[in-house]
């Protein structure tokens, strides 16, 4: 028998980070496409991109908090 020791909360945080990771990738990728197509709108796109990242990241951050309080 193999015994695995460690905090299960770590696994939970790892799972919580998958979705936001993919989401942030999509947000940034599309923002880069938008900036490349229309460089004059780069400032607006960048602001909106950071907003999108911030909202997507919230799930990973909640996972991070749960890791500490679990």
């Amino acid at each position: 028998m193999i015994e695995i020791k460690g905090a299960i909360a770590l696994v939970g945080y790892g799972l919580a980070a998958i979705g936001p990771g993919i989401g942030i990738g999509i947000v940034v990728g599309n923002a880069i496409t938008a900036m490349a197509r229309q460089p004059e709108a780069a400032g607006m796109v960048r602001t909106t991109m950071f907003l999108g990242i911030a909202f997507t990241e919230a799930l990973a951050l909640i996972g991070f908090v749960l890791f500490f309080i679990a």
């Binding site: 400032g43 950071f50 919230a58 909640i62 908090v65």
Partner: protein, 272 residues
């Protein structure tokens, strides 16, 4: 290789190559009192908070003191920072009204920036924003301001527009309203604080682990011989992370300020 991998139980304090700390929070807890002013005990963290305050005030004071026709290089840098916060954050997000909020945003931005950069400052090496008390207080301040602005500009229509959004189909309104209510009043301050705090904690831990373990391995070359070379890649990797952390420190200060501005804007214009 077994000697190199020292788990918690295998730690021998007499031959301390690497001992796992009992609890990582001791990296962030500075409970030793440096000096006391009356009833106020000043620990390292408290001292750094006041140091950050003094640095911010001094930067702004000496940077913007002399109104010369051609400012000095230092003055121009500070001016660029101030104009960046005013134009790129306050006015471009909140609109022309944003000029009213820009002193607050500037104070927020400068304090968080200096506090974050303490992480990579030699001899200090401790980001004060990695304490939840500071990140939490700053985000509570933002919360108070955007809720106050919302009620002042829109009265009780502020909450009404949140819990009963007109743009949503009738059947979905209670659900969307509930989500909006929770997300605005509870998740916003929480995520705002945790985003800053988590990034700084992770950065501080990573830097400490990589640089300290690299240094400890290299310096124990007399005891473990050629295997001490394992410390070199750690140290180099730590220096790479060091540069990365500078970027993270600036970016987190920017994001915190940007989101504060966005929250205030969403309190002023409740239509969307």
């Amino acid at each position: 290789m077994e000697q190199l991998i020292l788990a918690e139980g295998a730690c021998d304090p007499a031959n301390d190559i690497i001992c796992r700390p009992e609890n990582v929070t001791e990296l962030f807890n500075n409970t030793d009192v440096i000096f006391s002013i009356g009833p106020l005990d000043v620990t390292r963290t408290v001292f750094l908070i006041f140091l950050a305050m003094v640095i911010v005030v001094a930067l702004l004071f000496f940077g913007l003191r002399s109104k010369r026709l051609v400012p000095s290089k230092f003055g121009m840098a500070i001016e660029a920072l101030v104009v960046f916060v005013r134009d790129e954050i306050a006015v471009s997000i909140i609109g022309p009204e944003g000029v009213k909020y820009y002193p607050w945003l500037l104070a927020l931005f400068m304090f968080i920036l200096v506090g974050n950069l303490f992480e990579v400052t030699p001899l200090i090496n401790f980001p004060i924003t990695s304490r939840m008390a500071i990140a939490g207080t700053l985000s509570l301040l933002t919360w108070v301001i955007f809720v106050f602005v919302g009620f002042k500009k829109n009265g009780f229509g502020y909450v009404g527009a949140l819990v009963w959004p007109k743009a949503v189909p009738l059947a979905l309104r209670p659900l969307v309203g509930l989500i909006e209510f929770v997300s605005t009043f509870f998740l916003r301050p929480l995520t705002l604080a945790v985003r800053l705090f988590a990034n700084m904690v992770a950065g501080h831990l990573m830097l400490t682990l990589l640089l300290v373990s690299g240094w400890v391995f290299i310096s124990s070359v007399g005891e473990i011989g050629i295997r001490a070379l394992i410390g070199v890649p750690w140290f180099v990797f730590g220096l790479g992370i060091y540069v990365f952390e500078i970027v993270v420190a600036v970016l987190q200060a920017y994001i915190f300020t940007l989101l504060s501005a966005v929250y205030v804007e969403s309190s002023i214009n409740i239509e969307h």
